[in-house]
Amino acid sequence: MEIIMSVLAGILFATGIYNILQKQMLRIIIGTALVSHGAHLFILTMAGLKRGAPPILTEGIEDYADPLPQALILTSIVISFGVTSLLLVLAYRASRITGTDNMEELRGNEHE
């Protein structure tokens, strides 16, 4: 199962990257969201799946799933949420002010 989950996370990365390579802001941000899903899935998979019960200590149960990755994912999810929200507002404001949601039209060149 770990192999399949690794592949699934890889696919999430791939689709995320493909979206990031597009022009429209919405797609790009969707891409980042997919990439972060992929990353979180990787963290969980790397610790090994379905090894024991949920890490909530209960009498009589010896085997628990690895709690540390879960804690890390939680932190990461919250941070991703903060970044994504900012990104959304930023994209919204940028498209409002510049009048386009096409990143390729927002190149700009400070060289000249």
Binding site: M1, T15, I20, Q24, K50, L68
Partner: protein
């Protein structure tokens, strides 16, 4: 000794204060005192019984960078030149520079230069030497750019800086090599271990590095091109830096390392070769110039070439002649520059085509000029020091160590001819300089000012130098035993008879001198007739256009290259970044052969998981395919909820809960933000770009999966989590281990995570509010 080097720097600090009173007292008066003091200090060392002195002052001992001064005959010669000519030039500048100029700046740069130059010739530690070396380049840059409102001035300053700093860095490279090889940063120490360097496999490169440093500084062909443009500096600067002292730093460097290098054939070939070419090319170019200072600049180049060649010869005779000529050149060239300055000052022009017949108006200046220029030409008269050193030069060019073979022998056989050719042109431009300016018809109407003799003060400095020319010419022994021979000895302890006399009998050198005199006179008289030759050579092939082209191309190519990839396109950046990651990481994976996949330690496959995984794949791909923005956002939600279900299946209830909430909020935010934005468009990209994107995306996904699988298959240690499970209840006081970790073991993470959210909130607030303000204003 340290004080004498630091004195100019310390004095430079006070110049800005002193220069405030420049209207009342010319700042130069104070400045003159400083080189004078240094001169008086060092002149005490002169004497037949002189022995080298070494002093060490602590600076950065832990990095092998102590201020180590080594005062030997060679340093002493340079020290006296620097301080002596410095005194004269400073004095001369009092009359040359008007008080309306920015005297403060001028004298600060002047003193910076002097101090650094003193440091260069005293330092035995290579890094300290390099430090002072670069400072001479920089002060030269600032002095050339002193009249920076002129375009030519800025051009010349930048050019000199680029070329000399290029050389300086190359020198640094060579010095580091030698230091690493020998383990010492002292030049004397390196010379003691010369075998290590000479036999090292990188010796040719070290030599190249050193020579590049010396050649650029001493304006050797083909790096000489900066020197003529440096003539934009005020004339005292040209006399001081660009003829008497700074340009001789390269010679000094070669002389310093000569004890180590003279044995090498490469050294002989390169140094003599480039020296003699520079001599010929410089003197040839000098004849075609029309600006007095340009004539002198090319003349300096050619004379430096001559000295360089002699250092390359490496024989006792040649070294002695070289040292002697360093002194002589400083006397006659220094005075000629000052003469050119006087002419410029009194007539308002330096264009030799408009000058002529000035002898009647400036008789004293003309007298000084005739002696100095005849000395430069090497006219055989007993009171001209230039003749003596030229004769020694000829002598050296026909007396080499015997038994040379191959390229060295060939070189030895052509050198005398080239020496004569170079000297003929030297003769021609010397005559041209004097006769063109002071004799012939006068063109009073072409002169901007009506000429009259310069004030006495302005004549003092060149007069002292010309007096030097005569005194050395008449009584060469006066300076020989106590002074020059020490300098020569410190380069190469030879046992030849180092006496200087006017009459050696009719020998080859004399015949060479007479040939120069004869051909020179003919060419000088017929000069106007073969002027046309100059239009052919060097023409467009000149090194100057090469330099200009290089500088220009550096900028245009840089712009072209940089604009080529830095086009502001996010997609392009991401493509390049991810492309690089894919290529490098895959290569590393292949090299280390680290892709592993093991069937052990896997959890079982179950239908629900596979079903959810498939759904997520379809949804993820769906975000790419759909053109409906709402649909895309909702499909993204499907992926997120899928992940939440996976969290449930994989025993992570807290995660599932959080993921559900956050996914819902995120989707809502997405909808909110993009409600007003345009629909997704049909993709308009070319097929090529599409497949490129696809390759990159799939490549990266595959890379991550492969590393993930390999990492999971290479599990080497148990997780530290067992500890958390064990202590969560007893030490953490909670049964939900994830929560205990979050609030206790990794509490710092959680605090910071909340901080991140907080900052995001403020940033968003700022984004929204600032706009409101703008709207209100607008």
């Amino acid at each position: 000794m340290l004080t004498s080097v630091l004195l100019p720097f310390i004095a430079a600090l006070f110049i800005p204060l002193i220069s405030k009173w420049k209207e009342k007292v010319h700042t130069g008066i104070f400045v003159t005192l400083i080189p004078l003091a240094v001169f008086i200090y060092f002149i005490q060392f002169i004497g037949a019984g002189f022995e080298p002195v070494t002093r060490e002052y602590s600076w950065i001992p832990s990095m092998n960078m102590n201020i180590l001064f080594h005062l030997d005959g060679l340093s002493l010669l340079f020290l006296l030149l620097i301080s002596g000519i410095g005194t004269l030039v400073a004095f001369y500048s009092i009359y040359y520079l008007h008080t309306s100029e920015q005297l403060g700046q001028f004298y600060v740069f002047f003193l910076l230069f002097m101090g650094s130059m003193l440091g260069v010739v005293l330092s035995d530690n290579v890094y300290v030497l390099y430090t002072f070396w670069e400072f001479t380049s920089l002060s030269s840059f600032l002095l050339i750019g002193f009249w920076n409102h002129r375009e030519r001035s800025r051009y010349g300053a930048l050019k000199s800086m680029l070329i000399t700093v290029f050389g300086g860095l190359s020198l640094l490279g060579g010095l580091i090599f030698m230091q690493v090889i020998t383990g010492t940063a002292s030049i004397q120490g390196m010379i003691e271990q010369q075998e290590l360097i000479l036999n090292h496999e990188y010796f040719p490169m070290i030599l190249t590095f050193l020579l590049l440093g010396a050649f650029t500084k001493s304006a050797q062909f083909p790096f000489h091109i900066w020197l003529p443009d440096a003539m934009e500096a005020p004339t005292p600067v040209s006399a001081y830096l660009h003829s008497a002292t700074m340009v001789k730093a390269g010679l000094f460097l070669i002389a310093r390392f000569s004890p180590m290098l003279t044995g090498s054939e490469w050294f002989f070939l390169f140094v003599s070769g480039f020296g003699i070419i520079t001599l010929c090319w410089g003197s040839y170019m000098a004849v075609r110039q029309t600006d007095l200072k340009a004539i002198l600049a090319f003349s300096t180049i050619s004379q430096l070439g001559m000295i360089m060649a002699m250092l390359g010869f490496g024989t006792d005779m040649a070294i002695f002649a070289a040292v002697f000529h360093i002194l002589n050149h400083a006397t006659f060239k220094g005075s000629l520059f000052m003469v050119a300055g006087i002419v410029d000052h009194e007539t308002g022009t330096r264009d030799i085509r408009n000058l002529g017949g000035l002898m009647t108006f400036l008789p004293i200046t003309a007298t000084l000029a005739v002696i100095a220029s005849f000395s430069m030409a090497g006219v055989p008269l007993p009171f001209l020091n230039g003749f003596y050193s030229k004769e020694l030069f000829f002598d050296a060019s026909i007396h080499f160590n015997e038994g040379a073979q191959g390229a060295v022998a060939i070189m030895q056989s052509i050198l005398p001819y080239l020496a004569v050719i170079g000297s003929i042109f030297t003769f021609v431009y010397s005559m041209y300089f004097f006769f063109g300016t002071f004799r012939g018809e006068s063109n009073m109407d072409k002169l901007p000012k009506k000429p009259h003799e310069a004030p006495i003060g302005m004549l003092v400095a060149p007069a002292v130098l010309v007096l030097g020319v005569i005194v050395i010419g008449l009584f060469p022994e006066l300076i020989n035993q106590p002074f020059i021979s020490h300098a020569a000895d410190s380069i190469k302890a030879g046992d030849i008879d180092k006496s200087i006399s006017f009459w050696h009998g009719i020998k080859l050198p004399l015949i060479m001198s007479l040939a120069v005199l004869a051909f020179g006179t003919i060419l000088a008289l017929s000069r106007p007739k073969w002027q046309g030759v100059y239009r052919i050579l060097p023409g467009k092939l000149s090194l100057n256009s090469f330099y200009d082209g290089t500088v220009k191309r550096t900028e245009t190519y840089s712009t072209a290259i940089t604009n080529g990839y830095m086009n502001g396109s996010l997609a392009r950046y991401v493509r390049l970044i991810i492309g690089a990651i894919i290529i490098v990481t895959f290569s590393i994976m292949a090299i280390t052969g680290s892709f592993t996949i093991s069937n052990e330690d896997l959890s079982a496959l179950t239908a629900p998981e596979i079903f959810i995984a498939l759904t997520m794949v379809i949804a993820a791909v769906g975000t790419i395919i759909t053109n409906n923005r709402i649909a895309a956002i909702l499909i993204l939600g499907v992926v997120g909820y899928g992940l939440a279900i996976l969290f449930v299946l994989y025993r992570a209830p807290d995660l599932a809960l959080t993921q559900l909430i956050i996914e819902t909020v995120t989707v809502a935010l997405f909808l909110l933000a993009f409600y007003h934005m345009p629909q997704l468009e049909k993709k308009t990209e070319t097929k090529r770009k599409k497949s490129l994107n696809l390759t990159i995306a799939i490549g990266f996904g595959a890379l991550m999966s492969m590393i993930g699988i390999s990492a999971h298959s290479s599990k080497a240690f148990d997780s530290i989590s067992d500890y958390f499970l064990k202590t969560s209840h007893s030490l953490g006081g909670g049964d939900n281990v994830v929560n205990v970790i979050l609030v206790d073991m990794r509490g710092l993470d959680t605090v910071l995570e909340i901080t991140v959210l907080g900052i995001a909130a403020f940033a968003i607030y700022g984004l929204v509010r600032l706009r409101r303000h703008k709207d209100e204003e607008g």
